[in-house]
């Protein structure tokens, strides 16, 4: 069973911003077909009215105060990037 045609696979690569070279592309596409076949086995399970479990346990919603707090090591943070004055340099839009 083919889960994804060439066009769909290409669209997916674009969404993920992943580029694959020829040999790697063939291998990963083939792996993905096999894995999706494996994933399909959960369709056999009758989940009835079971809710969707986004977390394995209940966690109360806890929000932080909406207030300003200082981060004292801004220079260390910026040291991870190429900077211009106190801006991070990135690609053009």
């Amino acid at each position: 069973m083919v889960f994804m045609d060439e066009q769909e696979f290409e669209r997916l690569l674009h969404i993920c911003r992943i580029k694959l070279q020829n040999a790697e592309r063939e291998k990963i596409k083939n792996d993905i077909e096999n894995i999706l076949e494996y994933f399909d086995t959960i369709q056999q399970i009758d989940t009835g009215n079971t809710a969707e479990y986004y977390h394995p346990i209940n966690i109360d919603e806890r929000l932080r105060q909406d207030s300003e707090s200082a981060f004292n090591d801004v220079n260390l943070l910026l040291a991870n990037s190429k900077t211009h004055r106190f801006y991070i340099v990135g690609p053009k839009i």
């Binding site: 992943i18 079971t50 977390h55």
Partner: protein, 455 residues
């Protein structure tokens, strides 16, 4: 006395820290346990940190090329709590890239089993397990998403503890899958794990998903797990290799002799936990890995003349093959046209699995071998297909997917390689597991090939 108290009570030679650093560096050049090693003071009990947990001013890459050169400007909460209690940070431990692996093979430097270097150390917390197996005094801060503490603990012959989901703050952890990631511990003794777990657990203002397990246990009026009853799931027999089956039946006999009641039970969802886990974890991983774009931190793509999309695509070619596979699949299963078929369905199966496991855990522990196979050689593990590889997580995935606390402990040796068993208890009942393993350690002596840092 635990080994931490013992360490502080001993008088160390003046060159203790120096020789520990040298011996560990020498051995590490063969075993690849650490990505970097720090010289510590002989006054501090050593602890290591998996490379996906932030340590201030120390390169933290999650073993990924895409994060090379990233130096966090802060400590993860778990690291902060360890340092505040006078523990000494000894280095970052090797792992599968972003935690994607069962054997440690998705790392640039392949970690090797300290009992026999031709064999895998297990993953993804490979380095944490090797470090624990070679250092006499040491505790490892590790992390598990689908079995990353249990699997390497079993292959390297150490105790690996994965607490209830949310018990330990994840502030400063590089996310793989948020609804599954848990920070845990590895040590040579359950007693040491108890001591350190008391330090690192508990709510944190920086992590809204972090809970107080002691309070939750009382609030939910949870009964103690029946400490003398152990359930063995019948369906595991379909997946165990012969040598594991035979050693594990020996363990069951020993436990019966120790006074435990062993019961067998059916659990038909066992093999369905694997695709369920991989759908959820890949979906979450694909969103988490979207933040790696090659300019804010990590390996830089300096081709700023490229347009936005080409720049990102070029930068993201630095992901390894397994990471690429998971990003692509995770993006696919979240797609509008198939979301209900895969992602939503998997979330429901998780709910079903949790309720079925809870029914069993209300009456006792669940025990199984940690891994269905004996430790494989590196070359054999390398030749597995992704589906074969994922299938070997069959025993570690159910408690991870469901957030149940679990512990892997050594119970036997096969051809001089350790074998591990995994015990699971109900949510918030973490200490019952530590009681059990402490009791086990009174009657079974673990073996270690190296004892670096002995005093």
């Amino acid at each position: 006395m635990n080994s931490i108290e013992e360490f502080y009570s001993l008088e160390k030679k003046s060159d203790y820290a120096e020789s520990l650093f040298k011996d560990l560096s020498d051995l590490n050049s063969r075993l690849n346990a650490f990505l970097n090693i720090t010289k510590i003071s002989s006054q501090n009990y050593p602890f290591s940190v998996k490379d996906n947990i932030c340590v201030k001013n120390v390169e933290t890459t999650a073993s990924s090329k895409i994060l090379k050169t990233y130096v966090p400007p802060f400590n993860a909460t778990v690291v902060e709590r360890m340092l505040s209690k006078n523990f000494g940070f000894i280095g970052k431990t090797n792992m599968d890239e972003f935690g994607f692996g069962t054997f440690g093979l998705n790392s640039e430097r392949i970690p090797r089993n300290p009992f026999n270097e031709e064999y895998v150390a297990g993953g993804s917390s490979s380095g944490a397990a090797i470090a624990t197996a070679v250092l006499k005094y040491h505790i490892a801060i590790a992390e598990s998403t689908g079995g990353s503490i249990s699997a390497p603990s079993a292959f390297c012959g150490v105790v690996g503890f994965t607490p209830t989901y949310g018990a330990v703050s994840r502030h400063g952890l590089i996310d793989y899958a948020n609804s599954l990631d848990k920070i845990g511990l590895m040590s040579r003794h359950a007693k040491d794990i108890r001591y350190v777990f008391d330090i690192i657990k508990g709510p944190d203002n920086y992590d809204s998903t972090c809970i107080d397990i002691d309070k939750r246990k009382i609030q939910e009026r949870k009964e103690e797990t029946a400490k003398n009853t152990i359930f063995i799931i019948n369906q595991i027999n379909d997946f165990l290799d012969e040598s594991v089956k035979s050693h594990f039946s020996g363990l069951i006999s020993k436990l019966e002799n120790m006074g435990f009641t062993i019961k067998t039970i059916d659990f038909n969802l066992l093999d369905k936990a694997i695709p369920t886990y991989y759908i959820i974890s890949m979906a979450e991983a694909s969103t988490n890995l979207a933040r790696y774009t090659g300019f804010k931190y990590g390996l830089k793509n300096n081709e700023f003349s490229q347009d936005y999309n080409s720049f990102f695509t070029e930068s993201r070619s630095n992901f390894g093959a397994e990471a690429k596979r998971r990003i692509i699949l995770g993006t696919f299963v979240r797609g509008a046209s198939v979301k209900s078929k895969y992602y939503s369905k998997a979330l429901k199966v998780r709910g079903l699995l949790i309720s079925k496991m809870k029914e069993i855990l209300r009456h006792g522990f669940i025990l199984s071998p940690t891994m269905p196979i004996a430790t494989p050689k590196i070359e054999d593990a390398n030749s597995l297909t992704p589906v074969q590889n994922y299938g070997l997580d069959i025993l570690t995935i159910p408690p991870n997917l469901s957030g149940f606390p679990h512990i892997s402990f050594p119970y036997d040796y096969d051809k001089e390689l350790p074998m591990g068993a995994q015990l699971i208890s109900d949510h918030f009942d973490d200490y019952s597991l530590l009681d059990f393993v402490q009791n086990w350690e009174d009657s079974f002596k673990y073996k270690f090939k190296y004892n670096l840092g002995s005093i």
